[in-house]
């Protein structure tokens, strides 16, 4: 479980996060939604320690304040975190196999055979069996995301962060990636936090949804009530597409 308390972040005069609080529970796929510039990525980077928040707390496992602890202790917690970046962030100079094996090389004393078994099991889990020797430039956008997920779960993390996993993907591939993240969360019973503005994800996998608007938490709930209730800002965000506007009209009728 991860709890954030009154998280604030400013860049100079600009306040990007204005006191965001929330609880992301284990075994659930939690979504942080909001329009571009609402502070989703900054919130996620503050939670994983890539950006130091101006104020507030990020509590891991009920008692570890990630903001207050030393860098050495942070490194230990980071080994329990897997993260999928917006652009996948695969290492260009390495093959798919080397990319996924990298955390194992760095943090375990496994033999090469054991590492290879673990890599193949992760590749199998993301439906990319046999693509070990490909390099990132040979992969499609969806494949890169899946390799990113495989790398994120190779050390069996307790926490999985996904920054806009659907960006740049077609709707079908997006749904596959969403389902994969959802299944992995259930299967490994991990705390998963996904930044997205993809409505398919919201409706499909959001066990817990936090809506950010101008750096503040505007609404929280789940996929069952996100279409039925909420603030004006949330409704404006969700029903921005004509397709969903039509659904809304039919729901009202």
């Amino acid at each position: 479980m991860i709890e954030i308390k009154d998280l604030k972040k400013s860049f100079g005069e600009k306040e990007v996060l204005r006191g965001v609080s929330g609880v992301f529970e284990r075994g659930k796929t939690s979504l942080v939604i909001g329009s571009s510039g609402s502070g989703k990525t900054v919130l996620m980077k503050c939670m994983v320690g890539l950006i130091q928040p101006t104020e507030g707390h990020v509590i891991y496992n009920r008692n570890i304040d990630f903001v207050a602890i030393e860098e050495k202790e942070r490194k230990e917690i980071r080994k329990e975190i897997g993260m999928l970046f917006q652009g996948s962030a695969l290492f260009d100079s390495m093959t798919v196999e080397q990319n996924i094996m990298f955390p194992l090389n760095m943090f375990t004393n496994m033999t090469h055979k054991e590492k290879l078994t673990q890599v193949n099991s992760c590749l199998d889990r993301v439906n990319l069996k046999g693509s070990n020797k490909l390099v990132p430039s040979e992969l499609s956008g969806g494949m890169k995301k899946r390799v990113g997920i495989a790398r994120a779960i190779v050390l069996n993390p307790k926490y999985l962060f996904c920054d806009e996993p659907n960006s740049g993907l077609d709707p079908q591939t997006s749904i596959l990636i969403d389902e994969l993240i959802y299944e992995i969360t259930q299967e490994f019973n991990i705390t998963t936090i996904v930044n997205t503005h993809d409505m398919n994800s919201v409706i499909g996998v959001g066990d817990y949804i936090m809506f950010l608007h101008k750096g503040e938490k505007n609404w929280e709930g789940n996929r069952k009530n996100v279409l039925l209730e909420g603030s004006k800002e949330l409704n404006d965000f969700i029903f921005a597409s004509k397709f969903l506007q039509e659904i809304k009209t039919k729901m009202v009728i």
Binding site: K45, V48, L50, K72, R74, K75, E76, R78, K79, I81, M83, F85, Q86, G87, A89, L90, F91, D92, F102, P103, N105, M106, F107
Partner: protein
């Protein structure tokens, strides 16, 4: 304002160097990365060093002979001038200025691209000391391989100078060798190696700093690479003078 910016950047550069040497995660991984960088920097730059040195040595002999109009001096002095100039200046400094363009831009653009495509963030996220993993092997490889390249350059320049002197009829091989040996000061070799080691450190650490802290997009990566080459060349020239003042 300019001095504030300079000192702020210099502080950040020192901080990066400190980060490189503190808590490297797993020595075996670093060793492999150092080897890879040594091949990339050393073997990868060998062709340009050979081509450059062959022609520079030839030009040195021809132009020194051209300025040698008095018959009162022995022709063997041409050999001495070519040898000493190569060892003391051409091989370490001029070769490093050429290498700064190739190695500097390559290091800055590689790290800059890794920064903007979040690959460095990914390393940090995994709990890897990204500076130690990415920057330290480049600095070590640069500091080790550049002096070796300078030695190759010096040897080729002198050898080509001797051959061209013979082919063009300016002086015989024996005269060249006689001049080289007669006026040879052993310390010039030590001095040349000290210079090349210093320049190797500069041309790997300065571009690494500029690439590592790149912000923005692909345009900024290009700017970082350009700044890396310019800054490396300027620092090489400054340290060339400082070392000459201190050591000679």
């Amino acid at each position: 304002m300019i001095s504030y910016r300079f000192f702020s950047q210099f502080g950040q550069y020192l901080f990066l160097l400190k980060k490189c040497f503190v808590n490297p995660d797993k020595p075996s991984i670093y060793w492999r990365e150092v080897m890879r960088q040594m091949v990339e920097i050393g073997v990868g730059s060998l062709t340009i060093v050979v081509i450059f040195s062959v022609f520079l040595g030839a030009v040195l002999t021809v132009q020194t002979a051209y300025q040698f109009t008095t018959p009162l001096l022995s022709k063997s002095i041409i050999g001495s001038i070519v040898t000493n100039t190569s060892i003391i200046e051409m091989a370490p400094s001029v070769t490093c200025l050429i290498l700064a363009g190739k190695i500097g831009s390559s290091i800055a653009s590689e790290l800059g691209t890794m920064r903007i495509s979040e690959q460095i963030d990914a390393l940090e996220m995994m709990g890897v000391n990204s500076a130690a993993y990415l920057v330290l092997p480049k600095i070590l490889a640069g500091t080790i391989m550049v002096p070796l390249l300078a030695i190759v350059a010096g040897f080729l320049q002198i050898y080509m100078g001797m051959l061209v002197g013979k082919w063009s009829g300016v002086l015989t091989q024996e005269e060249f060798m006689q001049g080289s040996i007669q006026y040879f000061i052993p310390f010039t070799v030590t001095f040349g190696i000290i210079k090349a080691t210093t320049f190797g450190f500069i041309m790997s650490s300065v571009p690494a700093y500029l690439g590592y802290y790149t912000t923005g997009g692909s345009l900024e990566v290009g700017k970082s690479a350009t700044r890396a080459v310019a800054a490396s060349c300027i620092f090489i020239l400054i340290f060339d003078y400082i070392l000459a003042e201190i050591l000679i």
